[in-house]
Amino acid sequence: MSTTNGEINKMMIILSKATLENVYAAFVLANGARSEGIEAEIFFTFFGLEAVQKNKNEKLHVATVGNPAMHIPTMIGGLPGMEAAATYIMKKEMEKVDMPEIPEFLDILKCSGVKMWACKLAVDMFHLKREDLVDEVDDIITVGDFYTKAKGEGVHMLFI
């Protein structure tokens, strides 16, 4: 429970997806928290781990299937190359609003003091090792460890 009169002291963000729009949502929220003087930590779990995997995190895509906001028929969205094309267009638009690419964004988050954790269970499940993850990741921890880090007043937890 918060006794800080509603003030947010820390955002604990859990990222479980690797579609570009979800990863950016998590990163923008974490970065925005830091620039407001709010602490921020991100727990990368399940597919969210792709955002911190070397060689993978540069190739994340937006979802063109199962995403009604794309305004294209699902069957067309499933055609080969559609995801890449939509991602290309989105990345161009993102650059226009000064949105960095994922690897640069990770560096910004790290330099801004965002703590980044990889979920141990997901790391084990995908047969990953520490060296498969980018240097910005602070450690591989359990969900219990993450809850311990969430202790304190004015801490909010967000699942993406």
Partner: protein, 102 residues
């Protein structure tokens, strides 16, 4: 709104950001820094001068741009102006709070 700084009425908004940059000078900057509990070093002034120049050029400020400025990197920016560096630095510099989300 007006606020008295060094005996002079200074135009500010409800968050304390100056709304008339022509009223700013180094002494007022020092006072605003004291309110933010930041003792200003020459490094601080380099950053403040840089963001004021960008403001005069009407370039929107963001943490990412500061990091690429060549004046200061993001890590040092956070260590110079701990907790909300862009907000604190712009307040001391007498310019509006940047509306950037990144």
């Amino acid at each position: 709104m007006e606020k008295i700084i060094l005996g002079k009425p200074i135009e500010v908004n409800e968050e304390g950001y100056m709304t008339n940059f022509s009223q700013w000078n180094k002494e007022i900057g020092e006072e605003l820094a004291k309110e933010a509990h930041i003792p200003l070093s020459s490094r601080h002034w380099q950053v403040i001068n840089y963001i004021q120049d960008e403001y005069k050029k009407e370039v929107p400020l963001s943490i990412r741009k500061i990091g690429k400025s060549g004046v200061v990197d993001i890590k040092e920016f956070y260590s110079l102006f701990p907790t909300a560096p862009l907000k604190t630095a712009t307040k001391i510099a007498g310019i509006p709070k940047p509306a950037s989300c990144i």
